[in-house]
Assembly symmetry: C2
Homo-oligomer: 342 residues x 2
DNA sequence: CGCTAAAATGAAAGCGCTTTCATTTCCGGA
DNA sequence: TCCGGAAATGAAAGCGCTTTCATTTTAGCG
């Protein structure tokens, strides 16, 4: 009792926000007990716990996770690097990821690489400096410095949005090559005279192109033009690319766009030129974006559960963190959604 | 020399990642000097600096920002809470924000509130625990606990996407009420027999509705129906809402949708029912999303520079951090983009 | 050359927690 | 009533940096 009173009496004016020690003093216990009350309440006697909680509520104490993380070597932070968040494609992945992380008590540190591997490297460095408990990267293409830094850091890694037999650590995604091949088959079945691919130049878009072209190469004797543009490809890109293809003349045309956005542009150009869709020009997109069912005609496209990629990535990394076994490659489904454009 | 050798000799096997002290030992200087080499290189003699940098490069040392932040009380972290990132509207703001922050050496900690103020409160607590150098919130409506926690934390705050004479600290945005009023005026000039508003129920959407309705109330004698739905409002919501309005019968209809998505739905329903747009049904959206120019007919809408809101928010908060004066309210422009739908 | 101010470096303390490990308190059974 | 083990609490050290403040070096100048 004596001790407690003394302590309360000599209590300084609390410069700055309250600390764990302040709470301990006010509650008449030691700092360790407050720490336990917060992190492992079961280890604290109910009476004590209640007293501490009262003090915390009264003071509005917010624990300092920097200090906590430094001491415990666990930050409850998960970092994710995606190319962009404005281009829709990754936004839902982020949402899924975030939802899953938050419900497990983790927080998301977001990095935007803009499809630039150098920036990815810089981001990785900056992120590792915060000692996240895990990191999520988009794609399987990274600079060797990035790979080195990452593996050297010894934390769980999840690569998303692509499929690979040899991930850095774990991966969640699908084969873009197979997507391209599937679209090729789909269009082949429709029987067109010309085939073409238009789209972005990031590694995954290229894989889709390759899959598409390879599948076709064995069948058609005609050259398969591919028009490439910077990621992310835009509506305007699509219009222009289709214009070019149409200007070359020739028979009925089947086009695989590397995203719904670029496909929508192509579709619009086709309609504007009076082509019949899908008879004269057939178009398949990628992503099944929100607007895809509402274009004219509705866009046939490849659907991926973008949110699920985030969810699965979160689960993989959380399991990794808790030391459980995790499949090194989680395959995510895709399917062609058949609508009016092809 | 003797000292240096000894130190190198007794060097332990470096359990775990290298620390500042390790670098210091290897470079034959004290930890402080390494710290300075990293943070304020000008204070270090070129020769020494070079030696330290060599060691850093060789070891792949990544500073621990938790420790740094704890000691310096600056984390170079900025947190932002937005309702969602998948609904396009805030995604570009995040991109703008992030770009500006990164180039100033800061990192973004993202929180997604899902239009839920309780979640905003929880996020705020979790975020403050990481001691960010500043925090950015969406909107000016917060729970009182959130406000208390925020002001108590004594860090720079920027509220975005709304306008207010009394921000918590600083704000960047525009008056949604004025947007509604402007749209009302725009549609009034076209002369329709009925007016209606359809849209979400978040505070900002409501303000737009209020502005729209109030502006109209003085002019038209007819009741102005408002159909409300949960945020974010969807394409389907728009179709159904317009269907309801059309079912009521009556003369030519002018509708303000609370987002381009819901407006697009309404537009689609109007066309599907064979209405002439914009003669029978006129529709104005909000946001000028990517697809707006490409709907049929193209969507007349309200354009906001969403990215700029992020950029300005970043600037405000960075200035605040460096102690400069900052306007407590930064107004962002909006304008009606006239297309085919109204 | 010697002196002084500026430049460069270092020693020590401490940021606010968590982690052992040790100690005290509690409780049921003999 | 006393004892042993479990439950509850505490003491001390330390996580990896930065911040004073003190000390040493360097350079400029009469």
């Amino acid at each position: 009792m004596m001790t407690k009173r003394e302590k309360n009496t000599q209590q300084p004016p609390l410069s700055g926000p309250a600390t764990l020690a302040d709470i301990a003093r006010l509650a008449g216990v030691s700092p360790v007990t407050v720490s336990r009350a917060i992190n492992t309440p079961k280890l604290v006697k109910p009476r004590t716990l209640e007293a501490i909680e009262r003090v915390i509520a009264k003071t509005g104490y917010v624990p300092n996770l920097l200090a906590g993380g430094l001491a415990s070597r666990r930050t409850r932070l998960i970092a994710a690097i995606v190319p962009s968040v404005a281009s829709t494609i990754f936004a839902e992945t982020i949402e899924g990821l975030n939802a899953e992380l938050v419900s497990a008590g983790y927080q998301l540190l977001l990095g935007l690489s803009g499809y630039d591997l150098n920036r990815e490297l810089e981001l990785t460095r900056a992120i590792l400096a915060r000692r996240p408990d895990g990191i999520i990267l988009t794609g399987i293409t990274h600079m060797k410095e990035t790979r080195a830094m990452l593996t050297g850091a010894g934390l769980p890694i999840v690569e998303i949005w692509d499929s690979t037999p040899s991930p850095l650590d774990t991966a969640v995604g699908f084969s873009h090559y197979d997507v391209g091949a599937l679209v090729a088959e789909y269009l082949l079945a429709k029987g067109h005279e010309r085939y073409a691919q238009i789209g972005a130049n990031d590694p995954r878009a290229r894989q889709r192109r390759d899959g598409f072209v390879s599948r076709l190469a064995g069948i058609t004797t005609v050259e398969i033009p591919a028009i490439e543009m910077n990621s992310p490809s835009t509506f305007q890109d699509g219009r222009e690319a289709l214009g070019q293809l149409l200007d070359r003349g020739g028979g009925s045309l089947a086009v695989f766009g590397s995203s719904d956005v670029v496909a929508h542009g192509a579709l619009t150009e086709a309609i504007a030129r009076g082509c019949r869709v899908p008879e004269d020009v057939a178009i398949v997109g990628f992503g099944d974006f929100d607007f895809a069912p509402h274009t004219y005609p509705p866009l046939t496209t490849v659907r991926i559960d973008r949110r699920m990629i985030g969810t699965q990535a979160a689960r993989s990394i959380l399991r990794k963190i808790s030391g459980e076994d995790v499949a090194s490659m989680v395959e995510v489904d895709f399917e062609i959604v058949r609508r009016g454009s092809a």
